[in-house]
Amino acid sequence: MTALSAPSAPSAPLRAGETGSGAKRSGPVLLGMLRRRELQLVLAILALGALSSALHPSFLASGNVSFILADSVSTMVVAVGQTIVVLGRGIDLSVSPVLGIAAIGVGFPAQDHNLSIFLALLIVLVIGMALGAGNGFLVAVVGIPPIIATLATLTIYGGLQFIFTGGQEVVNIPNAYGNLGNANMLPGVPWLIVVGAAVVAVVWFWLRRTVTGRSIYAVGNNADAAFRAGAPVRRILFLTYVVSGLLAGLGGLIYLCHVGSADATTGSDTNVNLMSIAAALIGGTTLLGGRGGPVGSALGAVFLSEALQAMIASRVPPIWEPAGVGALIVIAVITDRGATPARLLARRPFREPSHGPQ
């Protein structure tokens, strides 16, 4: 366990021959830093902003900048949860109905009974954790491959979302919600950005500075080795899905506050699954597990939001939005040299090595 918890490690445990070269290479520090996906993304965000505002001067208006940031927070929070699962070498395709169920789960009481927002926060977290625990059970306890398990819960949760709405939709939320979703804390600094930054900071600390967090990287890197080093692999895998569900639930509350409505297709109609995975991938987290982090994913979410705004500013018809995101995914995957080992799909469910022949 001590090996896992070494907090002095400056970055994630790296795959052999990957970005770890920064330590060995004697080249300039600045060049090494440029290899970091987070920095590349900041530069990309600035470049895209500069390009767009050169073509469309209104793009850089302060309202638009904070809109881009605030608009990305719902995706950002879900993407951070997705990142945690992916770091453990899983995938969660059920985040969109979890987000939707959380949004309607508090949306109706808020609309009809003026539910207090603190209670709402508690409810979405419980909903998210419960649904996430369902995924965790299937993956970590039963041992079903994550992609199939969460594909199945995607339909099951999606069905539940339809049943819960009963054909109704949330259209009118109390002011407290709307203020949180759209008002500024300080001039030019929306509340949502503060919330998003806080979530990223907490998760970053958890992943980098606690034994459990480090263990997620270790499990994602090599579950067998982590098991032999004493990490409770199944419990950690279970936990990643619970946290992913929790953050997807929180994303639902943020979505509700920001957009002000929710219905049976909330989450699915905005492709939350795709967006969260895209943000994580663009942010440098690989589906191989064990590499990446919440900061990159948050930047990825901002970049996506900015890219979509740029498409709108350039009068690209909205039907091309999914294609834009799809193209970004393909580009992010192809340009990420860390993601090249051939069989990324080979994410067999973990089994304690002692049970079988090796």
Partner: protein, 357 residues
């Protein structure tokens, strides 16, 4: 698993695999067939509306799910090789829209169909090219191209995608019948047999399965892994395109919105059919049976009066249940128990290393 011409490189390992894995696949396939019979019997006895359909009515139900089966056949080819294709649903939409738009431009509808199928194969080739050339995960590449194909379909189709195709077209790939048997079923039968033969009886098919089972071993035994995978994606794209033509024929209108709703059932069919999602294990016969099993289950529930929503949820539940069952069957404890029994019974002291992956 009876013929494994490509296994010559590692005869011992491959034969151990083909015996245990083959037996399990046989059990799974037989169980599927039995379940299908039980299911049909249940609906026939317990649901009056289902009984009153008669033979031709029940056969006509197939038109509601055969396009899913076509996608599943293509998907199975890719999954057997250890990859996955998430873009098949969107590809169905795209090929239907392309066919209809070309026809609307004044092209002969059959020519338009051939061109649309060609485009679908090209789309599959694009997937395969990205996966093999850049050596990246098919999960990610097809997740991306899924949305690209979908956007193109929506853009080409416009607000009102073409509809009202010529009668001959709607009859053959849509709602026509030969006696009580829908034309679609006949076309599907031909394609299904071809896909089965391809996987089970050709050198290429067996090499695909070996690629899925052990990529390094297949490379050492002289298989061109990249080219084989590329063609698997082409097959997947082509069959998805064919499904799009079926959909257009059945609804007598091109649909750009149906792709998303086809992907999950298709993957469910593949997994239910006993194909290991990690490749290297499974049979096309299982996939074909699973097409009918899941299709009749869904349609039977709908006829019984359940909402389409319930039917979709049942799809998800079935997927989970069959995986739980599979994991239970897969469990090493069972394998060891069976080994022990066989050891006792036959007296053959050959030690087998289970079916460790």
């Amino acid at each position: 698993m009876s013929t494994t011409p490509v296994s010559s490189a590692k005869p011992g390992a491959s034969q151990a695999r083909s015996k245990t894995a083959g037996r399990q696949e046989t059990i799974w396939t037989v169980a599927l067939a039995a379940l299908l019979v039980v299911l049909l019997a249940y609906f026939y006895l317990a649901v009056p509306d289902f009984r009153s359909l008669g033979t031709s009515g029940v056969l006509a139900l197939c038109e509601q799910f055969l396009f899913t089966g076509l996608i599943a056949l293509g998907e199975a080819v890719v999954v057997l090789a250890g990859e996955i294709d998430l873009s098949t649903g969107a590809m169905s939409s795209l090929s239907g829209i392309l066919m209809a738009s070309l026809w609307q431009q004044g092209l002969n509808i059959w020519l338009a169909t051939v061109l649309a199928l060609f485009a679908a194969a090209l789309g599959g080739a694009l997937n395969g090219f990205l996966v093999t050339r850049f050596n990246v995960s098919s999960l990610l590449v097809t997740l991306g191209t899924q949305f690209i194909f979908g956007s193109v379909a929506t853009a080409v189709g416009g607000n009102t995608p073409p509809y009202n195709f010529p009668r001959s077209f709607v009859t053959l790939v849509g709602t026509g019948t030969v006696g009580p048997v829908p034309d679609q079923l006949l076309v599907f039968a031909v394609v299904a047999v071809a896909a089965w033969l391809l996987v089970a009886r050709t050198r290429y098919g067996r090499s695909l399965v070996l690629i899925g089972y052990n990529r390094a071993a297949s490379r050492y035994s002289g298989i061109d892994v990249r080219r084989s995978l590329l063609w698997a994606f082409v097959a997947s794209g082509l069959l998805a395109g064919m499904a799009g033509i079926f959909v257009s024929g059945y609804y007598n209108a091109a649909r750009d919105d149906i792709g998303d709703s086809l992907l999950l059932p298709a993957i469910t069919v593949v997994v239910l059919g006993g194909v290991d999602i990690f490749g290297g294990r499974g049979r096309m016969s299982g996939v074909i049976l699973a097409t009918f099993l899941l299709g009749f289950l869904t349609q039977g529930l709908l006829i019984r009066g359940d909402s389409s929503l319930t039917a979709t949820m049942v799809t998800g539940v079935v997927l989970v249940l069959c995986l739980v069952l599979k994991v239970a069957l897969d469990h090493r404890a069972w394998a060891q128990l069976r080994e022990l029994l066989r050891h006792r019974v036959s007296g053959m002291g050959e030690l087998r290393a289970g079916r460790g992956a």
